[in-house]
Symmetry: C2
Subunit: 138 residues, 2 copies
DNA sequence: CTTTTATTGATAATGATTATAATTAGCAAT
DNA sequence: ATTGCTAATTATAATCATTATCAATAAAAG
C-alpha cells in the first residue's frame, strides 16, 4: 500500500478572487482591503472581508500587485499595469495620483550602502509622498 | 483693565518626560512606545502608557528623535546622538543594529523625480532593512 | 457522483493607537 | 507659602485595521 502521497498544493480559482482582481484592475490608485471590499459591495458582489484581505496579501506576495503602507499605517494595494519589475512610486497624498518611477540611482546607492556595512538580504522601500500639480492649485 | 493676554503656550517639564527621554537615550535601537513603557515599569517608574505615546510623538515632531515604521506597522523611536540633520537608516531586522547613513544621492534623486512630475511638498522615507554581518554568521 | 481539501465567510479576538474626562501638578503672580 | 490658570497626566473606554477560528462550501481530481 502506498504511503501518503506528496501533498501537492493545488491552486483553485474562485469567483471571489476574480472579483477582487477585477476591482483592483479597474482603478489605478492605491486602495486598501477595506476600500476594495466596499467597492465590491456596491456592485452587489458579496465577498467576505477576510477573503479580500487574504487575497490581496497573497497577490502582493506573488508580486502580481504592489503593496505600500500609507502614512497612517494602512496597507494599500495597486495594480501596476505597465511595469513588471522593481520600481517605486510618487504618490499625491491629496488625490492619490500615483506615478511609477524607476531609479537606478537609488538602487545603486542602497546596494552600495548595504555592502559597505556588511549587510545582506537587504530590501528597501522608497515611496515619495507629496502634492501633485493639480492639487496644489486648489 | 487688560484684555485677555495673548495665550502663551507654556512648556512644562515633568518627571514623566524626563524618564521617557532618559529611557530612550539609554538604548541605541529603535523602540516602540510600548517597549519604553515596559522598560520604565521594570524600573518602577510609573508613567502612563498614553503619556509615553504622546511624548514620543511630540519629540519626533520636534525632530528631537527619529521615528520609523517597522515592517509590521509599529512606530519605532530612537535617539540618534551623532546626527542632527536629515538622514536615513540601515537596520538589521534580526538584532536591531542601526546604522545612520546620509545620502546626497537619493536626496537629489527624489528631488529630481518629484520636480519632473510637478510634485510639491514632497517627503520621503528611505530606510533599508537587512541582516547585519554578525547576524548572518549564525 | 464522490472524495479530498483549498477556500470562504461570519464572527470573535487582537493589538496598536487615540479619545475621554477627571485628577494632578508646573509655574507665574499674589 | 498660597492661589489661579491650564498644561500634563492617567486610567479607561473606544477605534479600527488586521488576524484567528472553524464550520460550511465548493473547486478539482478520479
Ligand atoms: Mn528600488
Ligand atoms: Mn533623504
Ligand atoms: Zn493630487
Ligand atoms: Zn543583526
Amino acid at each position: 500500500m502506498p504511503l501518503k502521497e506528496d501533498k501537492k498544493i493545488v491552486e483553485r480559482s474562485t469567483r471571489q478572487q476574480s472579483s477582487i482582481l477585477e476591482a483592483l484592475y479597474g482603478v489605478d490608485e492605491f486602495k486598501s482591503a477595506q476600500d476594495i471590499h466596499a467597492l465590491l459591495s456596491k456592485k452587489k458582489l458579496k465577498v467576505g472581508l477576510a477573503t479580500v484581505y487574504r487575497t490581496l496579501q497573497k497577490m502582493a506576495e506573488k508580486e502580481d500587485i504592489d503593496a505600500i503602507k500609507s502614512v497612517d499605517g494602512e496597507t494599500l494595494y495597486r495594480h501596476c499595469g505597465q511595469n513588471d519589475g522593481h520600481h517605486h512610486h510618487l504618490i499625491c497624498s491629496k488625490c492619490g495620483l500615483t506615478i511609477t518611477v524607476e531609479g537606478p540611482a537609488i538602487e545603486n546607492w542602497t546596494e552600495k550602502v548595504a555592502k559597505e556595512n556588511g549587510f545582506r538580504e537587504v530590501s528597501h522601500k522608497v515611496d515619495i509622498f507629496g502634492v501633485c500639480k493639480s492639487c496644489k492649485k486648489k
